[in-house]
């Protein structure tokens, strides 16, 4: 038998899998950015109108609605949840805001006041609808997929009912008054783009620099561990669905003046675009992991694709959604080996 020497040195710890973010990890987090740059290079090569400031601002303005919602969706997905109702919610909020402004302009006698209150209502309503969903999910312990699938139908049906199957339209004079919120610009930058930027910055700060943001990630990564670490899981969940509702409200606030009307097709499929932006941006649908920067890049990337298709005749515009679909699946495939 071999009796080992009893060395005085403490047992050294063998290294396990190498620590820290690996090279492929880092590459993957830059993946969306690299994709966007490549896409822009392709776009610039195909059409000289692509690489203009005007076109860039146009793309960003179009991105703003989905982008603002995607920031909220990013929190919900990191939390390990999902919200399918955002498109319908936007439509319902838009309808309610239009009805309110039309009514309040007469009732208050101040058209401007009515528009400002209407904008506030959009945010408030978003928060309330998000709160209701959050309570059903967190306290009622119903799957978020089911709750928001239900509200998806409910919201859109109520809008259709309010609009009597047609469209709710802002009165002309009020629409003109509200128009700057979408068509205006500050120092050449369209207002919705500024709003998108501000929402993204605040979102990133909340996610990375607050206890609440850390709790969202902790719950998404492992809810039981979070609960055993004294995280108030229910409260964080409710707050997160509220936060998304507020984002939907903000997006709608800037969307209403664009057309000045809301119809049963308003916000159709926005939920899928918002979820796609978050996933393309590198978040894991099962939760625990995702970034606001990635989400912003993902949202822009998706609208750049449709912009390029619009500007070039390479692929039919009718296939826009198909190309986006291929991109989403490709991105998911590339990220597969990461975790």
């Amino acid at each position: 038998m071999s009796q080992p020497e009893t060395a005085a040195t403490p047992a050294s710890e063998p290294r396990r899998a190498e620590a820290g973010p690996s090279f492929s990890d880092r590459l993957a987090s830059f993946g969306p950015v690299i994709g966007l740059i490549l896409l822009c290079a392709v776009g610039a090569g195909l059409n000289s109108d692509f690489a203009t400031l005007e076109n860039a601002l146009n793309v960003l303005t179009r991105t703003a609605f989905i982008g603002i919602i995607a920031v909220g969706m990013c929190f919900v997905i990191i939390l390990g949840g999902i919200d399918l109702s955002v498109g319908s919610m936007a439509a319902l909020i838009a309808g309610c805001v239009i009805m309110f402004i039309n009514w309040a302009a007469g009732a208050l006698g101040s058209p401007l006041g009515a528009v400002v209150l209407g904008a506030g209502l959009a945010i408030g309503l978003g928060g309330i609808l998000g709160l209701i969903q959050g309570v059903l999910i967190a306290k009622g312990r119903i799957e978020p997929f089911i709750v928001t699938l239900g509200t998806l139908g409910i919201y859109r049906a109520y809008l259709t009912y309010f609009a009597d199957g047609g469209a709710l339209t802002l009165e002309n004079s009020l629409a003109d008054l509200y128009a700057p919120a979408y068509y205006g610009s500050v120092l050449g930058v369209p207002v919705p783009v500024i709003a998108f930027l501000i929402v993204a910055l605040i979102g990133a700060a909340i996610l990375n620099k607050t206890a609440y943001g850390r709790h969202v990630q902790a719950i998404g990564s492992n809810e039981t561990v979070a609960r055993y670490a004294a995280v108030n899981v229910e409260r964080v969940k409710i707050l997160t669905y509220m936060l998304l509702g507020v984002c939907v409200g903000i997006a709608t606030l800037f969307y209403v003046p664009r057309l000045g009307s809301a119809s049963p097709t308003t916000g159709l499929l926005w939920e899928l675009e918002a979820i796609a932006a978050v996933i393309v941006g590198g978040a894991a649908l099962k939760g625990g992991h995702g970034s606001i920067t990635g989400t912003v890049v993902g949202a822009i990337l998706l609208s750049v694709i449709s912009n390029i298709l619009n500007l070039t005749s390479l692929i039919s515009v009718y296939l826009n959604a198909a190309v986006q679909g291929f991109v989403i699946i490709t991105v998911a495939f590339l990220q597969k080996g990461r975790r």
Partner: protein, 508 residues
């Protein structure tokens, strides 16, 4: 006694490792391991966490391929491309972490991937019969139709063993099989191992419990740092000698000397008539600053559930007082703010975010300390640096994920985490589960330090030796009731087992 030929369906297999090297990327975890095993013997494979024993066993069972070297089975070199190949040769590994499909029945799990068919259809009746006979052999009193989800952890372990039996194992590798078993289940498992050995099956038994290794194995093989450091007939070794071989240094005394505390002080935690529906009834106890109170009992006696009730993690009722002041703890958050902290027995499932880096794990329970109002990442990093030093957490990098730490170091991180809110009462549930001897000792020293600093410490443990070595008093629970509190000379394994099992005839 040497091995049989290629197609022998007979008993045990002889196995030889010849210069096995295993690299994961640039990291070499096995540095040329060579030894041979004879059929029909029980081998204890010892080593600290990270010594390479699990990797070696995964190579033997086909889950991993060696980077260099050969595995010989029955004298023939083999190259398994997966566990199915190995199982076809009768080599079966029972994982430490279960691989059971929760929604399937016991029978469904036992034959998962090896379903018996009758034409196009499954032969359910045959599988149920075979499963029932395997369950009977391992002593699990459940019908094969029970969904695995309904089983408690110990029963799942038995299902894993039954699964291995149904594979007609000729070489069986068991990785910490008794971690969740009660003494009577352990006795039954050992009887089963005896029967298998008699039938000529080769058994490799991996365990941190040296008393079990001493009881059940014929020969001990010790690995350290990816190398074989020794092998010897079990009968020729004492437990301290085994521990010394594993750790590579003398463990003079696993437990620090007990220190006294002020027995007249106001108890830090007083619990009276606490009831957790379905788990614990009318439990009363108190623990003083500086005191270490042990909680013994069988799995399912309600110890964990009692404390989860006290902490507001599950519904419960009764009087709880902290430092003499009655409190009503409705949530763990409230308990934490009041100075209670709880280390869960389930490190990966409840204790740590294994996908997270170390710092967010450490600070999660006391995050408000770092929010001013924005989280101060630098302060978090500083806290981690300090904790790594204080708790002796060995990690390659401070930005590593918790998953990359060994079991013992994860446990130290989990301890640092629950201590971060600066509790006055600390409840430790199985604080050394799945932890190697060296880390155990460090954790014991740490617990003593905490008690000396005036914390009241409750230690729930299934290892009686641990409670005897660590605690001032031990409360024993049986079927949800606190049946006895033993201290001093009464703190013996025999007394505690007698109370825990309800056997009145205490050894004289």
């Amino acid at each position: 006694m040497s091995a049989t030929g290629e197609n022998a369906t007979g008993p045990g297999l002889s196995v030889a490792f010849d210069g096995i090297v295993k690299r994961f990327g640039p990291v070499e975890v096995l540095h040329g391991v060579s030894f041979a095993l004879e059929p029909g013997r029980v081998y204890g494979l010892l080593g600290e966490n990270g010594a390479g024993k699990s990797t070696l066993m995964k190579i033997l069972a086909g889950y991993e391929q060696p980077s260099e070297g050969r595995v010989l089975v029955g004298g023939q070199p083999v190259a398994f491309s997966g566990s199915r190949d190995a199982e076809a040769r009768g080599i079966v590994l029972i994982h430490q972490e279960f691989n059971l499909a929760e929604d399937l029945t016991i029978a469904g799990n036992i034959f998962l991937g090896h379903e018996r068919r009758k034409g196009w259809l499954l032969d359910e009746a045959w599988m149920r019969r075979e499963a029932a006979s395997a369950l009977q052999q391992v002593g699990l009193d459940r019908t094969p139709d029970t969904p695995v989800r309904r089983l408690i952890v110990a029963e799942k372990q038995l299902v894993e063993i039954a699964k291995a039996l149904s594979r007609k194992a000729r070489l069986l590798i068991m990785d910490e099989p008794t971690a969740t078993l009660t003494p009577s289940e352990v006795a039954r498992l050992f009887a089963l191992i005896e029967r298998m050995r008699a039938a000529g099956v080769t058994i490799i038994y991996i365990s941190h419990k040296l008393d079990e290794v001493e009881r059940i194995t014929d020969e001990v093989i010790v690995m350290r740092d990816g190398k074989l450091v020794g092998r010897a007939p079990t009968a020729s070794l004492t437990r301290p000698a085994m521990a010394t071989m594993m750790v590579g240094r003398e463990i003079a005394d696993l437990f620090p000397a007990k220190e006294s505390f002020d027995a007249a002080a106001v108890p830090a935690l007083t619990v009276e008539n606490f009831t957790v529906p379905g788990w614990a009834r009318d439990v009363s106890f108190s623990v003083r600053p500086g005191e270490i109170l042990g909680f013994a009992g069988l799995v399912g006696a309600g110890r964990t559930e009692l404390f989860e009730g006290i902490l507001g993690l599950r519904p419960g009722s009764g009087q709880v007082a902290l430092a003499g002041h009655p409190v009503n703890l409705r949530s763990l958050g409230e308990a934490t703010r009041q100075g209670l902290s709880y280390l869960s027995e389930d490190r990966k499932g409840k204790g740590l975010h294994v996908d997270f880096p170390l710092a967010p794990n450490l600070t999660l329970m006391a995050l408000e300390q770092y929010a001013r109002p924005w989280l101060d990442h630098d302060a978090e990093r500083k806290a981690l640096t300090q904790a790594v030093e204080t708790f002796g957490i060995r990690t390659g990098s401070l930005s590593a994920r918790a998953a990359s730490l060994s079991g013992g170091n994860q446990q130290k991180l989990a301890l640092a985490k629950v201590l971060h809110p600066k509790p006055r009462v600390l409840i430790l549930d199985e604080p050394t589960r799945g932890v190697d001897v060296g880390a155990k000792r460090e954790i014991y020293v740490l617990i003593h330090q905490l008690a000396r600093q005036g914390l009241a410490v409750v230690v729930i443990s299934s290892e009686l030796i641990e409670l005897i070595g660590l605690a001032h008093r031990v409360a024993v629970m049986r079927a949800g009731r606190l049946v006895a509190t033993v201290e001093g000379a009464e703190m013996t394994e025999e007394t505690m087992i007698a109370h825990a099992t309800g056997a009145r005839h205490v050894a004289a």
